[in-house]
Assembly symmetry: C2
Homo-oligomer: 216 residues x 2
């Protein structure tokens, strides 16, 4: 197998969004002790076409072996590196409400190497409390504290009113990735990557599909 050559023409969103699916699915296969798989078999279990699977992988290198298929363990390693899972990430949570609390306790993130190192809020009443063993600090300390702690990512879960103020403070720090849970189209300065989770949008899509599935 040729080593990940990272062609990187310009890989489409569609491809990138499938990478985590591959990663998760291949890990499931491995834990069922399946150590080798063809695109055809993988197609059957993951639900993408074999053609698409081969196309997807080929964006990043030649991971397979003609006439043999793919080594599951190697493939997990390769895709993990492409995604960026060959390291840990330090996380700050901004907004210590119910959602912030849930994310601080969310094991599936920690298991992937995303470790919460700080929690911040503007509400004086909350400061000093602990969530998941971490003390809630004031947003006044945010910029200096995240620099000290070398934080990589913010999980943004303030309420709607607090968002833009929080973003301003985050922009003052050296953080360049925001995982945004506020139902707002965030405006951030260049160089900051934003992944928006808009649960309301998803719920409304579900609502639409409920109606249509009924009818036919």
């Amino acid at each position: 197998m040729k080593r990940s050559t990272m062609k990187k023409e310009n890989i489409s969103q569609a491809v990138i969004r499938r990478l985590p699916r591959y990663y998760r699915h291949l890990n499931d296969l491995l834990s069922n002790n399946i150590r080798r798989i063809s695109s055809k078999e993988l197609s059957r279990s993951i639900g993408f076409t074999a053609s698409q699977i081969r196309q997807d992988f080929n964006h990043f290198g030649e991971f397979g072996q003609t006439g043999y298929g793919y080594n599951v363990e190697d493939l997990i390693q390769e895709i993990g590196e492409i995604i960026g899972l060959n390291r840990d990430y330090k996380v700050a949570i901004v907004g210590a409400g119910h959602l912030g609390t849930a994310l601080a306790n969310y094991q599936n993130f920690q298991n992937m190497g995303f470790v919460v190192k700080g929690i911040y809020d503007i509400d004086e009443a909350k400061i000093g409390d602990h969530i998941s063993g971490i003390e809630i600090q004031s947003m006044d300390e945010f910029v200096s504290d995240v620099r000290k702690k070398k934080i990589d990512i913010v999980y943004l879960c303030t309420n709607k009113n607090g968002v833009q103020q929080a973003v301003s403070i985050i922009e003052e720090s050296n953080i360049n990735a925001i995982f945004n849970f506020c139902p707002v189209d965030l405006k951030v300065k260049e160089g900051i990557v934003v992944e928006n989770i808009n649960l309301v949008d998803n719920l409304l899509a579900l609502s639409y599909y409920m109606k249509t599935s009924h009818k036919q």
Copy 2:
């Protein structure tokens, strides 16, 4: 303006996923007292092309007026109906962990008419506790209780191990919509609509884009 004729050829996911964006954005415009808008102006503020906006709306009817544009209020009403917001929905939460608690308290869902009416868990220790004023009940009571309460939707937020058992129980009830927060590819019987939220997938996509935005 012609009334929503509901052509319903076969509307693509891409279009449906934009509907909540329109709905949210138009409400923002209305609260800024903008009562009339052209596809061109809307394009500038929402970020889709004017052409796409007109195409999208035309899947559902003729909502505009030649030479004038669209009436914001009417458009909100129309899109709301298409999404299915002209009614309330009764929700049951399955899994009373941190995430279930956050969702029970999430005002943005309630504001759209999705009202939590029951919370269920298998953990005996939690049963009888209250979240957001609602008593946690045993999953043993689920089927009869959701029928009694006329529940429409389940927010599924058990841990990974509990998922399939929970799904079996849900399938016994008359519920046909699941908003799934478990990082698992759910298998459900036909007729049940599933909207999957996989936060890990989103976090991994963010991780990928962090790397690539750095490099260039």
